[in-house]
């Protein structure tokens, strides 16, 4: 598990390096995860944060202050935990544990994994356990998604006079605009109200907002377009869902989307 998490973080092992040293069982699980399969979701991120705070004996207000500094719930929960003791579980053991976990056993299963792993690995455990795992390794093999698909993107700009919004994908730490799309969801009035209350900058009719609101975008295809800031263009994209609970920092990165689409 430690080596897998380190590989996802890009250091010290590369994917070939990881696969070369991994056991057969770990290799099979790693392949499954990198091709999109996921273990059972056993708990949400708020529950994981509560449990980690309980283990670390940190009051809720201090958890919130920590989250404000860290910005990521799965990571905050991992960083709050005390140092690891005992033999660390393998990747295959972690996934097997999650897959046989029920809501009743989730708490003890997580505590049993956490106490044997360092923070980087526990961050990865928390993503797997909460269903928020994403492949961040940029050259990981991903299954061909065929023409089109869907992607989670974050709103970065809105218009004063129309319900169009511009959504972005992450590239390093920067959200890069990928499409400007009309908002036609039933939630549109609520979203517009949020925009009005959260404008961070105005450029003429354009309103910049903090990159926190997440939307699911469907599209028919992705092509290269050098005239776009991102270098890519989504074909026939539309907004199909607003995910007010989603964490903007768990989104697909632009390079990964391009790789999935063979670009």
């Amino acid at each position: 598990m430690i080596a897998f998490a380190a590989m996802l973080a890009g250091f010290p092992a590369s994917l070939p390096g990881y696969l070369a040293q991994a056991s057969e069982a770990d290799r099979a699980v790693a392949h499954a995860l990198l091709s999109g399969q996921r273990p059972r979701r056993v708990a949400g991120l708020p529950a994981l944060m509560d449990w980690a705070a309980e283990v670390a004996q940190v009051p809720d207000w201090l958890v919130q202050a920590s989250l404000a500094a860290c910005g990521d719930r799965a990571e905050t929960a991992a960083l709050l935990l005390p140092p690891a003791t005992g033999t660390p579980p393998t990747l295959a053991e972690v996934v097997a544990t999650l897959n046989r976990t029920t809501p009743i056993t989730a708490h003890s299963a997580l505590l049993g994994l956490w106490c044997r792993l360092p923070p980087l690995a526990n961050h990865c455990v928390n993503r797997l356990a909460s269903g928020t795992f994403r492949t961040i390794y940029p050259t990981a093999p991903v299954p061909p998604s065929g023409p089109g698909g869907s992607v989670l993107a974050v709103m970065v700009l809105a218009q004063a006079a129309s319900p169009d919004i511009t959504v972005a994908l992450w590239q390093d730490t920067t959200p890069v605009p990928i499409a400007r799309l009309p908002l036609t969801l039933p939630d549109t009035p609520r979203i517009m109200a949020w925009i009005r209350a959260n404008v961070s900058k105005k450029f003429g009719p354009v309103r910049q907002v903090p990159p926190v609101q997440v939307f699911r975008i469907t599209f028919d295809g992705l092509t290269r377009n050098a005239r776009r800031k991102s270098g890519y263009e989504l074909q026939a994209a539309q907004i199909v869902e607003w995910l007010p609970e989603a964490q903007a920092d768990t989104l697909t990165v632009l390079d990964a989307l391009a790789a999935q689409n063979g670009l």
Partner: protein
């Protein structure tokens, strides 16, 4: 004018209902030993500032980092071990060194400097008046890095502590593990024909790395790092040979450079490189994005270290400065301390 520099801490920190302030007449037999002002922490009875943020008359300085040792004051007092770097950085100043633990009377207070474990020569400053003791921590780390003078707790009534990493998400791994990771990264880069460029602050962190990373090839340094390293080597700190970067370097080299120069094209002449960054901030994923290889190595106390340091002083009153001051103050208050913030 200097006596007007700031309100006594109790006036600043404990507003009473109705907008009145608790002053000398209520609950305090004497003026506070240290007060907080626009120009920094001030001692009225000794007429000196500690790590002043502006030019003042007499400055007592905890260590040579530029946010603690600033130009322009009439005179400086720091540890003998900190003085060479401070002179190197500030140029022509009137400055005097003092040994760790040596007591000196200034006005009606007695001051002494005690190891802070932050960087070579770094100190906590103890100020005593009639049996009451205040300690200003400066920057510190509790764990011994085996390179600079190790932190020594100083008993006091009032402790003014930094809290750069004052949240429980900051917990450092042992140095040896991090240094082994850096060594493995260097070895991997060398085997792939790439120069290892490690970003680290030029005073303190850079030399801790030079002294601590198991040698496996030549270590080169950016000019800013090399200059400070030469000063410290002359002082007798255990630093192996380092070479000033001047054009190309061998592929198996480790190059240590300040983080800011890597934003430009300074490293362009080095050929194929792999870039890493050693800092406490690398504990956070958001800070690791885009920096290459990230190594969490800090010269500041982590959360357990801060709590240990506060506990070991035996202080009943603690003021937080530099960092996550409000959460740290609130935690201290919950733990039973009379807790405030340096403002």
């Amino acid at each position: 004018m200097r006596f007007r520099a700031g309100l006594p801490v109790f006036w600043a920190e404990n507003p009473l209902p109705g907008g009145r302030f608790m002053g000398y007449a209520v609950g305090m037999a004497h003026d506070p030993i240290l007060t907080f002002s626009q120009k920094g922490i001030y001692c009225p009875d000794g007429d000196f500032f500690i790590d002043p943020t502006h030019a003042v008359g007499r400055a007592l300085v905890t260590h040579g980092h530029s946010d603690h040792a600033r130009r322009g004051s009439d005179s400086y007092l720091c540890t003998d071990a900190a003085l060479p770097v401070i002179r190197h950085r500030l140029g022509r100043i009137t400055a005097e060194g003092i040994a760790y633990g040596e007591r000196r009377q200034i006005g009606s207070v007695t001051v002494s400097f005690h190891p802070a474990g932050h960087v070579p020569g770094s100190a906590q400053i103890r100020v005593e008046r009639a049996g009451e003791v205040w300690v200003v921590s400066g920057d510190y780390k509790v764990a011994d890095d085996g390179f600079c003078e190790a932190f020594a707790p100083v008993a006091c009534d009032t402790f003014i502590t930094e809290c750069t990493f004052g949240l429980p998400i900051f917990q450092w791994r042992p140095d040896a593990q991090v240094l082994a990771d850096i060594a493995a990264w260097w070895a991997q880069n060398a085997s792939e024909g790439r120069v290892s460029v490690l970003a680290a602050y030029s005073f303190g962190k850079a030399q801790r790395l030079i002294a601590g990373i198991p040698p496996q090839g030549p270590i080169f340094a950016h000019g800013a790092v090399q200059d400070v390293t030469d000063v410290l080597r002359d002082q007798g700190y255990p630093l192996g040979p380092t070479f000033r970067v001047d054009g190309a370097v061998p592929r198996d080299a480790l190059v240590i450079a300040p983080p800011n120069v890597l934003n430009g094209d300074w490293a362009a002449d080095l050929g194929p490189v792999s870039v890493g960054f050693a800092s406490g901030w690398m504990a956070l994923g958001a800070r690791r994005r885009g920096v290459g290889a990230a190594f969490t190595l800090s010269d500041h106390a982590d959360w357990p270290g801060l709590l240990q340091a506060v506990r070991e002083t035996g202080a009943t009153r603690v003021f937080a400065t530099h960092g996550y001051v409000e959460p740290f103050r609130r935690w201290l208050e919950g733990a039973g301390y009379d807790a405030g913030i340096v403002r």
